[in-house]
């Protein structure tokens, strides 16, 4: 059995706030979301910036906006799921829950602080430090089904969740799936990336630019409702886009460095295009991983040249991390929503911060300004430590 899989609802959060308007008003207009971090003291670190949600822009329903209050992953996931289900017009009863999340580590911090001070740990949110708790609590809150899985494969986690969800629907194993991911900036993860010298010290992310100096983290969460086109049509729901294909691969190259020629990215993208039955000539846009790190962007460019072949110079490509920051486990889900908006609005988001192109990154990277273009198919790419790659092909419906 092979069924058409469509997206019928989504909820999304970035540093710019909740919902699609926050993305259209900021990511699609080339606005960077970075500011000095106030969520924790950044003075011990080389880097000082991140793109965090601080209450500016559309508010997240049910999440307090108070000075000093940091939302939890559970709160933002619940808000995104509620919006996705409202937009979809289904209760998704019994649907599997698949989320890219590595757990909420702000809660782990709270536990070990109590531990170090000889106090009995008292923060009930500590339970959400285990990844599986987040899909479990989301499933329980909305009456969803099983499995309730967390994908913990780092920066491809929520792309993997969406791809797996699409496969369940495509194969007829589920009629509807709730999937997505979440990451909120925490000091633990910030400190790790800082020690690895991966973070930009200039306070800006400039994907594919000659002066790029690393990535910065960003808050992000997105939940999507996937269902069979047949089910959506039968209940009169409006499909927003089709998940036409997806693919994953491993570089078999290095524990942290990407393959310099984008070998694994090519395989993942080709699998996604093959699954979608789409020739590269029909691709109107690529949402690149584009972290703004020296190694990724050159390797990804090499991979994109091979994926797109002779068509490469003609395909508009952008990395939206120059606006949103890198949302780690959430990045694939949020970028899938951005790609969906590009399809529906006929508007391609720019690579924010790209002003001085790297000669080795010489494709049409939409520097700093978006572009109007009616497109029918788009590719979204992500990659993670260990050389793990994931690709999604979305189609306008």
């Amino acid at each position: 059995m092979s069924r058409e899989v469509v997206i019928t609802g989504y909820g999304v959060l970035t540093a710019f706030g909740f919902g699609p308007e926050a993305l259209l008003d900021n990511v699609f207009t080339g606005r960077p979301g970075f500011a000095p971090v106030t969520r924790f003291d950044s003075t011990p670190y080389h880097a000082a910036h991140a793109a965090t949600y601080g209450g500016d822009g559309p508010e997240v329903p049910g999440v307090p906006v108070e000075p000093g209050y940091t939302p939890t992953q559970a709160e933002v996931l619940h808000a995104c799921a509620a919006e996705a289900l409202r937009m979809s017009g289904t209760d998704a009863a019994g649907a599997p829950v698949l989320l890219g999340t590595n757990g909420d580590h702000s809660a782990a911090r709270s536990f070990w602080t109590d531990h170090a001070r000889g106090r009995a740990p008292g923060d009930p949110r500590t339970v959400d430090s285990l990844p599986g708790r987040l899909p479990e609590s989301l499933g329980a809150a909305f009456g969803l089904g099983t499995p309730r899985l967390a994908f913990v494969n780092a920066c491809v986690a929520s792309t993997n969740a969406i791809g797996h969800g699409a496969e369940l629907v495509r194969r007829g194993l589920a009629d509807v799936v709730v999937c997505g991911g979440a990451y909120l900036v925490t000091e633990d993860v910030f400190a790790k990336f800082d020690s690895g010298k991966a973070l930009s010290r200039s306070g800006a992310v400039r994907p594919f630019a000659a002066d790029r100096d690393g990535l910065l983290h960003g808050d992000g969460a997105a939940v999507l409702v996937l269902e069979s086109a047949e089910r959506a049509r039968a209940r009169g729901a409006e499909p927003l886009a089709e998940v036409a294909g997806w693919g994953m691969s491993s570089d078999a190259h290095h524990v942290i460095k990407p393959h310099p020629k984008g070998e694994g990215l090519v395989r993942a993208a080709r699998a996604a295009l093959r699954g979608a039955g789409v020739d590269v000539e029909r691709l109107g846009y690529v949402n690149a991983h584009g972290t703004g790190t020296p190694l990724n962007d050159v390797a990804e460019t090499a991979g994109l040249r091979r994926i797109l072949g002779a068509h490469a110079p003609a395909v508009p490509i952008s990395s939206t991390k120059g606006s949103t920051g890198h949302m780690l486990e959430a990045t694939g889900a949020v970028e899938a929503v951005i790609t969906l908006l590009a399809l529906r609005e006929g508007l391609l988001p720019p690579t924010t911060g790209l002003r001085v192109p790297d000669p080795e990154c010489d494709l049409d990277y939409l520097p700093d300004v978006g572009r109007r273009a009616p497109i029918t198919h788009a590719l979204s790419l992500n990659a993670a430590f260990g050389g793990v790659n994931a690709a999604l092909v979305l189609k306008r419906v």
Partner: protein, 237 residues
């Protein structure tokens, strides 16, 4: 959700944990000193993954993966992940100490899988999953779905769990004995690896063996290991 009715064959199996006599029917189970993995120094999690995979697949270049790297996928399942590394990082922060760059990549589960993929030339899909409930079943069903793809020949399923530390113990106590997270392995680090293929007339399906209850959610994978190694007997703890 419905599930695939895909008979699966087990062509490689290994368990690693210092289980003593209880492990006598489990292939590969024995007290082991883990071989260190360059760059992964803080925790037993990553060496455990590398060791159980090697025990299952054999040395790189062996028959099970040679020529099949592109057609091999990996699914890693863990309820709590590398708690040693992630909590060490957090405790260092609480103590006002600066992070070691090694913690940067060690705590990311895909890093050790990148090491494995390179050693064995595995270039297929790599998924890592976690859940409070039915994690082993979910990982096996994910593998079944991957095997449904004609372009894949086999899936290496790895289940791994470290002995619960203070945080995990607190969470488990907080959730209560009836919560499925209570089904963590008791007291020891443990890992299981299974190399699964579609069953064929010449490669019979392996029915699930009785789970080993002492090993929590990993017990279901241990049971499959045991059933693969001893198809005519059933072993319980």
């Amino acid at each position: 959700m419905t599930t695939l009715d895909l008979p699966r064959a087990v062509v490689g199996a290994a368990c690693l944990a210092p289980w003593g006599d209880r492990a006598r029917d489990v292939p590969g189970a024995a007290p082991v000193d883990l071989t260190s993995v360059p760059g992964f120094v803080t925790s037993r999690f990553n060496p455990l993954v590398a060791a159980v995979a090697e025990q299952c697949l054999g040395a790189p270049g062996g028959d099970l993966v040679r020529g099949l790297g592109e057609r091999t996928a990996i699914v890693l399942a863990t309820a709590c992940g590398d708690t040693t590394t992630s909590d060490l990082a957090t405790r260092k922060l609480v103590a006002g100490q600066v992070h070691s760059p090694l913690l940067f990549f060690q705590s990311v589960t895909t890093s050790i899988l990148g090491h494995l993929a390179k050693r064995y030339g595995i270039t297929g899909p790599v998924s890592c999953v976690s859940a409070c409930e039915d994690l082993a079943g979910s990982a096996l069903r994910l593998a079944d779905l991957l095997l449904f793809d004609d372009e894949l020949e086999q899936v290496l399923v790895i289940g791994v769990e470290l002995a619960p530390n203070d945080r995990v113990t607190w969470v488990r106590d907080r959730l209560g004995a009836e919560h499925p997270l209570g089904r963590l392995p008791l007291g020891e680090d443990a890992a299981v690896a299974l190399l699964l293929r579609r069953a064929t007339p010449g490669r019979p399906a392996v029915p699930p063996g009785p789970p080993h209850p002492a090993y929590g959610w990993l017990g279901q994978l241990v049971g499959l290991c045991t059933a693969a190694a001893h198809p005519d007997t059933s072993t319980t703890d």
